[in-house]
């Protein structure tokens, strides 16, 4: 299969979604003429014109709210929030409006809005351009949230998101934009709420979010050399969360490590760990281990940032600790 980059898979998904449905349009800052700061929208304006690819003022609250209204009136807007860190200036329109309209209006309205954004650290972008805040959004009834971990998943999850009649958020990982991988040329959908077992193993389950899937696979490959077989589960979406896939795996491996790039405290890992102990306590040979960032803003210095972001070494070390403790 041909290989394309993570960001090109994103662009291709939109190219095909816009061909498939004339009600799909793109709204955001510098998405039209400039093609987006990450080139994620390259070529879309030339292909579909300014009616369907709309540059906006720097008004995230305004244009996401405009997307909510347009969605409620039958369009299928894709609103782009340049950096996930900017969510604070737009949040009301997402969690009080998009997420609640259907419920609080008695079901008569649909809000098929997709918010795309770029999150994650590793590019020395500093404390306000590097965050992983997915747990905030996963906490809001009415929203769906995806964190694709490969070019293949970017395209499939984007297609599912835009076709979904609910408000969806797709959080790209900035550090993966240039990562290449196999991507089918035809349009295809990866359903929300279906985790992906990226690697099978019998000794421990590593539940990973977003780019941490890549680090987890690296760790698992290294550990395999010493006879430890880790199963790696990519949750793909944190809302809805595929709890069954996680629990099924943990019941087989009897150990679980949860890893995400967000700070550990109050991260989605806390929810996953809680679900595991509630539903699979009797299967556990060791406490569930959470791995995430320390409780600090994302630092700018490359040295500090490397120390901050969880990586394959920390995942390996965590798995080893877990196995030692439980005599594995």
């Amino acid at each position: 299969m041909r290989e394309i980059t993570y960001v090109k898979a994103f662009t291709e998904s939109l190219m095909q979604l816009m061909a498939e449905d004339e009600n799909v349009l793109i709204i955001g800052e510098d998405v039209a003429h400039y093609g987006g700061v990450f080139h994620a929208f390259d070529g879309l304006w030339k292909t579909y014109g300014e009616k369907r690819v709309i540059d906006t003022p720097i008004s995230e609250m305004g244009f996401i709210g405009m997307g909510v209204g347009a969605a409620a009136r039958g369009l299928r807007p894709v609103c782009d929030l340049m950096f996930f860190d900017f969510i604070g200036v737009a949040l009301d329109q997402l969690y009080n409006q998009a997420a609640k309209l259907k419920f609080m209006f008695g079901g008569d309205v649909k809000v098929p809005l997709t918010l795309t954004t770029a999150g994650g650290a590793g590019l020395s972008a500093g404390p306000q351009h590097s965050q992983s805040l997915e747990a905030w959004l996963a906490h809001v009834p009415g929203l769906k949230v995806a964190l694709p971990s490969s070019p293949h998943d970017v395209k499939g999850l984007m297609v599912a998101a835009v076709r979904d009649d609910n408000p969806t958020v797709v959080i790209l990982n900035k550090r993966m934009l240039g990562t290449k991988g196999p991507v089918p040329e035809e349009i295809y959908e990866i359903p929300f709420g279906q985790a992906n077992t990226v690697r099978s193993g019998r000794d421990v389950t590593v539940v990973a979010v977003g780019r941490m899937v890549v680090e987890a696979v690296t760790a698992a490959t290294e550990l395999a050399e010493s006879g430890i077989e880790a199963e790696v589960i990519d949750v793909r979406t944190v809302q809805p969360l595929d709890s069954e896939a996680i629990l099924d795996s943990v019941r087989r491996t009897n150990r679980a490590v949860v890893v995400h790039e967000a700070v550990t405290f109050g991260g989605i890992g806390a929810e996953i760990a809680a679900q595991i102990q509630e539903e699979a306590f009797d299967y556990l040979d060791a406490p569930v281990l959470r791995l995430g960032a320390p409780f600090s803003p994302v630092p700018f210095s490359p040295v500090l940032e490397r120390a901050y972001i969880p990586d394959s070494n920390r995942i390996s070390a965590g798995i080893s600790r877990l196995l030692e403790r439980s005599g594995g």
């Binding site: 305004g62 405009m66 409006q97």
Partner: protein, 332 residues
Amino acid sequence: MTTTTEQDPMSALEPEVLYDLHRRMVRIRLFEEEAGKLMEAGRMPGFLHLYVGQEAVAAGVMATLGQDDVVTSTHRGHGHAVAKGADLRYMYAELFGKQTGYCKGRGGSMHINDLSIGMLGANGIVGGGIPHAVGAALAAVYKGQDFVAVPFFGDGATNIGVFHESANLAAVLQLPVLFVCENNGYAEFTPQDRHMLLKDVADRAASYGMPGEIVDGMDAVAVYLAALRLVARARAGEGPALLEAKTYRYYDHQGVKGLRIPYRTQEEIDSWKDRDAITALELRMVNAKVAAPEELEKVWSDTREEIAAAIEFAEQSPDPDPADLLDNVYTV
């Protein structure tokens, strides 16, 4: 000797328009007065932000709109829903939290909506609905339809960021939006001169490159004529405008009594009540022999009957079933 008398602008309007304005206002007034009584009697749960006093604004603007023109509303939104043509039975049912309510008991007083008549909902977040109207206007243009969108909001809401972002967006995208500010002089309990230095909200329009006009919000005819012009302008593709209606709410920010601290003087309240929009229009209609007093009285008595039946419908409607709590959290 000849005398010239200034012609009442009302005389340019067909009697049907005047009856329509009058009926819309009476329906709002009585809906709200009865809702207030129900709350006072402890028969209804939740908050209640009464629209009484501001009727000329909703009535005057809505009378210029068609079914498919979209409005968004505020926490003080009953008047907009009634004037847009919402069914009073489902409105009261929602106020009672019943399954037959517009929101199936999930939204309450602050979220009345009816998409079938272009009522895209009231909103509990100040300014929250303004960009939705801009989006509705975008959708209309996108689909080649000539609908306009009208967000209603108060003077207080023009201090929140999303108002400015929405106004600028509508202007730069040249969307068919009529921004209607109901300036009742207070952001909750804070008077206008303590929440902005401007005397006229309409002045804000200039900073977005759109026209801003002021109208007497106690005069339904004046509101109607101003909205008619600005809606036609938007519909013709000439872009958005801001209409500021100077008006007043007779009751408190929330509820009927509640004046913990008397932040308004009785003289001020009385001076606005002396200019009551419904009384004023009735006087003009009778003086101009457009209507006989008994014809106008019949509007009140018919509406009272309709409202009594609507309240009975609401009170006798079933409560929502807790087993269905999760309905409509997601579209499935």
